[in-house]
Symmetry: C2
Subunit: 201 residues, 2 copies
DNA sequence: GGATGTGGAATGACGAGTCATTCTATTTTT
DNA sequence: AAAAATAGAATGACTCGTCATTCCACATCC
């Protein structure tokens, strides 16, 4: 009845599931593992979630929604110069990486488990990727229009390349001794690469 | 006795497994699926492979070995100028992408299935990544020494970033209408990005 | 004391791996 | 060269363990 309590239970189960999935992976996690972590019977689980896929979906989808928010919130702010673009890169990159740093479990699940469990989930991941790609591409197009980026850039490919680096950074951070320092190094190195390239001027 | 025939059977099973794994994924592929594709009894499978993990390992490891060869073969050739470095990027990138283009099934398996099946396999993937990272880093270090790359580059991070883009390219190619054209676009866009950056000069 | 929530035993589906048996091809015997 | 013997390759019914899911007896709360 008390929908507050129901919500509370649901999020307890969600949290325990995150631990379990991050630790042992989707297929090796039993419903009873999740229940055991909470000290509840595993039948109880089914009062709160339809089935195993349901909860995995909930776990992953919650995180994807957060990513989507970051991607979309940054969308409308276009810059006018290389300098403001650079600080934009830093800010968006920073937000994205902080998202991954905030919950190592989620990052682990996304990188190691999410793909290939269920077609619908794959599609979800894919659509976020596509969204991120087109957002980055819009930024590049803006830079070309405003005249501070080269006019001949292959924006479709470069936007994907940039997001690939973001993913690479998030992955790297997972194993870094000092995540936030590592994150900053990535942001600096990538923004330099993006704007100036590596060749000696 | 005839070890030729045994080898032949093994590779038939290997090929059928690749199809199956690429199509349905590791967990959803039954040994009987593989056998069915070949029109053999599933008991026969066990004459040629120890178990399910054994064949998955064989499939993935074969491909990883190919990647390793590409990575290692390119290692010793250091360039002296931006121009020769650029053509080096093109050549190595091209070889790598052709590897992924050559067998879409393998690329699918690597991206969607390989991770999280077995710790030993994860470790294998990881070690290839590390190898690739240090190879790219050696190239960057060479460029700095030779004086055609900026001396202040964060080579550790940038080498990872570059490999992340390579992976991004390979992934993109998987879904491209025209893979080889897409591959070339990636190579051009990334080599431009790497050397000159995107900012208008 | 009824309604609602909970635990964990019971169920059933599923699939990996085994093994006794059959089949086939090659070799040996007559 | 036909018949018999042998090796070893192929088969698939069967076993066995593993979970996801269901069900119901019991507890807890109003």
């Amino acid at each position: 009845m008390d929908s507050d309590l129901i919500e509370k239970r649901r999020s307890q189960i969600l949290a325990a599931s995150m631990d379990a999935f991050a630790e042992k992976g989707y297929h090796d996690t039993k419903i009873s593992d999740i229940a055991e972590r909470l000290g509840i019977g595993h039948g109880t689980f089914y009062r709160y979630f339809k089935n195993k896929l349901d909860i995995f979906f909930a776990v992953v989808d919650g995180f994807l929604a957060q990513i989507k928010v970051v991607v979309e919130e940054e969308a409308p702010q276009f810059s006018d110069s290389v300098e403001s673009y650079r600080s934009q890169i830093r800010r968006i990159g920073g937000r994205m990486l902080r998202l991954f740093m905030a919950d190592t479990r989620m990052a682990r699940i996304i990188f190691f488990q999410a793909l290939g469990v269920d077609p619908a989930l794959d599609a979800r991941l894919f659509s976020i990727k596509t969204l991120a790609d087109s957002m980055v591409e819009a930024y590049l197009a803006n830079g070309i229009v405003k005249g501070f980026l080269r006019p001949d850039l292959d924006t479709a490919v470069l936007s994907r390349a940039i997001n690939a680096m973001t993913l690479g950074a998030a992955f790297d951070i997972l194993f870094a001794a000092n995540p936030s320092e590592t994150g900053n190094r990535w942001i600096e190195a990538v923004s330099l690469l993006m704007l100036s390239g590596m060749a000696k001027p």
